[in-house]
Symmetry: C3
């Protein structure tokens, strides 16, 4: 539990511990208002994400800690002419924990290689965003009382949504969950996610319409449908209504349904749904603060981290993903996990043959 780069790297028990701690903090926040006194978090946002940043900041401040950092690559002299390594080496010398958001895949892993303190991945491009998944799990647990045996619908752009992929992966680690995958054909879930579901002995159903499946669901996880993902504006206009959640569709759902959304929404949930007690997406955002409090508190108490010893075997092997951080920061050693004749890049998870 040195760093949080990929939630799947963590044993399930560690995930459970964070969720339990978040619950305790939420119930008795005053008991935790000094646990990070004298500690500093660096919030290094190489791309703006105000909501995520404010959630982390509020979390650290509510623990009695302090925050420094930057939020704007354009104005920051950091991002001009300085490599990631130097920034991480310096800033991790000033602070006790790093929260890193960077649009390049694998950048959080790269930061963890050089950091003198724990690193939390707050989003590395289209790759991973593990604290979102943690807060989604907490929301399910809090609202449904269990992470097992749930009928969970995912609606929207299931092809490109890392949030969806990550939550499905996490939920397959629990028992008896059933997934309803609601999208257009063009935005359907990737094959490898279906494989993961199959391998976990969970089940899934792919459907094209929200209306037909909503009566079944315990959970409906809505996501943004981006116009530019459709083949034409006409297609977008025809299809989007099928995927917009409104009062009329809510009327067909169970009383116990809970509607989640990672936010921000555009128009995939009508404003009229906000007043429905089954809409929990604003609560979900607040839960996120408590989950991040639990995470920061647990990670910051660890001993100072020695530099990762980088074994030599694959250090000169290049990653084949053109968006991998190793393509931009050329001094980074190759790091791969070998599996048969496949190498998986430890930065960005791209796979290649040896």
């Amino acid at each position: 539990m040195l760093h949080l780069i990929d939630l799947n790297d963590w044993p399930l028990q560690d995930v459970t511990d964070i969720l339990n701690l978040a619950k305790n903090i939420m119930q008795s926040p005053d008991d935790y208002m000094d646990v990070c006194r004298g500690k500093i978090m660096a919030s290094l946002f190489y791309e703006p994400s105000t909501r995520t940043q404010m959630s982390f900041q509020a979390a650290m401040l509510r623990l009695g800690g302090q925050v420094i950092g930057f939020d704007n690559p354009v104005n920051s002299s950091i991002s001009k002419g300085e490599n990631l390594k130097d920034t991480i080496k310096i800033v991790s010398g000033y602070t006790d924990i790093l929260v890193v958001r960077n649009p390049v895949e694998g950048s959080a892993k790269a930061a963890s290689v050089f950091s003198n303190c724990p690193v939390i991945n707050a989003g590395d491009g289209g790759h991973l965003h593990p604290t979102q998944t943690l807060l989604d799990l907490f929301t399910l647990l809090e609202e449904k009382g269990t992470l097992n045996g749930l009928k969970i619908g995912f609606c929207g752009d299931l092809k490109n949504g890392r949030t969806v992929h990550s939550l499905i992966k996490a939920m397959t680690r629990y028992q008896g969950n059933q997934f309803y995958l609601i999208s257009t054909e063009a935005l359907a879930i990737p094959y490898y996610i279906k494989e993961i579901i199959d391998n976990a002995n969970c089940t899934y159903t792919e459907v094209r319409s929200l209306e037909e499946v909503i009566p079944e669901l315990d959970i409906l996880y809505m996501t943004r449908i981006q116009k530019e993902r459709f083949s034409s504006e006409q297609e977008y206009n025809e299809q989007k209504k099928v995927y917009i959640l409104d009062k009329c569709k809510m009327n067909k759902a169970k009383l116990g349904l809970k509607v989640l959304h990672p936010l921000p929404r555009v128009d995939e949930i009508a404003i009229e749904v906000d007043d429905d007690p089954r809409a929990v997406y604003f609560k979900q955002a607040v839960y996120g603060m408590y989950v991040r409090m639990a995470l920061v508190m647990s990670m910051i108490r660890q001993e100072k981290i020695p530099d990762v010893s980088i074994d030599g075997e694959y250090r000169h092997v290049p990653c084949t993903n053109p968006y991998c951080i190793t393509q931009q920061e050329r001094y980074l050693p190759g790091l791969f996990e070998k599996n048969g004749d496949m190498l998986t890049c430890k930065y960005c998870d791209q796979r290649r043959l040896i």
Copy 2:
């Protein structure tokens, strides 16, 4: 006193309480250095206003509280593709008090409709800026010892200056104040402000020259004269000297005169005046911090606020002010106060016939 949107909504006793508390804090700041411990202010600045923001931040930090927020609409992902409601719902879930600055009229009121914690209006376009008025009142009280029976000159652009309008309105709630309105004809005070003065049984005098009236004044409230308000550059150059305060004009004023300015100044007060002990505009800015401490401390101690119950009668009536927040955020319910056959918009104070 749930929110501070418009100072005139507050009973005079509440205003007095804030001014008294500000005085106590200024005299014994150490007594208050922990009263907001464990509390967080969100400083949501949809347009930059560094001075106001720093004043609020310093105020909260001096109370032992903490601050998160944003200051830059361009870099903030918040302002892209997310409506005001969602931002307010989420951020007010992280924090204990919101300070909102937004260039759209009525936006602070709109924020208060959805916030889970108290909202302070730190300026909503040309509409209101109540904490400026509070600090102006505090300055008058501190420097003159009373808010009654004062001869107050306002000089500069009296047509467009919300600061001036707001302070006049506030001063008409006290007894025996006389107003001297010093401006060009084109920049004269609006008619409705003169009505307010008349209705309050106060008196006013409109003059075109600062020099002729300065010997009378107890207070001179200077404001910026913006070049672009004049009909031509020539007219500007001819007129501006009449409205610039310099040593020569100061020599004609009473020893007890106090010169105020909301700052920033451009060149309407000559630098040479700064060393005159009657110039209190820098002190006025510092008073502002103490007033904001009093305000934040008083408001934050309130109970959590339930969602405003929005009555249905006028919720579908549109506001006729094209700059009203309800024109931009179309989901906002119409909120009006009925007075005879007039409806006054509760967001932006625009009036319309039923």
Copy 3:
């Protein structure tokens, strides 16, 4: 020790006290975690310098203090239409210490004229950056155990590097130091620095190659070589290899050598050198935080500062340096030190005949 504008203004004993205090803080940081409780630093960065700003912020927060400020001249309303004087008057009324970075020479001195609290110069254009020099001294003392009798190489752009000039000046105040000045002819050290070395009875050697002199050195202070300083791209490409520090050159150096760099680096130190224990530039950055803690703590405890009384003799004499702050902010009084028939500008150190 009211302000820190130019390190050479300070008695050597004050410098020694700061270095000793920094050492104590580094050894027992917990003893200092509350010494600035209730105090606020304003971090006024008129040009972005994220690393310096984060170092100051971390320093203040680790002392239990708080920070407000701005980091971005473009977005800040402060820098639009408000003179330096007004900003300093107002902000120093909110806070207990100012850290000012401004690209205009002499601006830190100008700030100190109007500030109600101590001012630290965090860089005023090409003029001075005294906290960098303090942290360089601390690094030498920490890594070599002494500031006397050292053989110090400076490599890179010695003509334009204020960091180099400043550290040489500071090191000539100690005994028996020898300077090795490694640069191209076009980027050679200015004559007046050589005069300072001579006057202090220290010695220097100018060389064109790093390789020939590296075996002699106790300290190697590397600096950036900016492409645009060379007469042509061809010349740059030919010369730069001579000044790049790599493993091969490190192999010729003493075991006791210490390599410093003010950071950020571009490519004048090869990444492969980072793992050499003699490379201390990352430690140097962390030392900087402790030095700034010592500085802030020492300066903030002073009494409130009265306005500097500006004597009249030279107040109408203009400075001849076109980049001096007095050229931009025309209300600033001329301040000069007279020496024979020479006047030295107290803002920017430009000299002129009477």
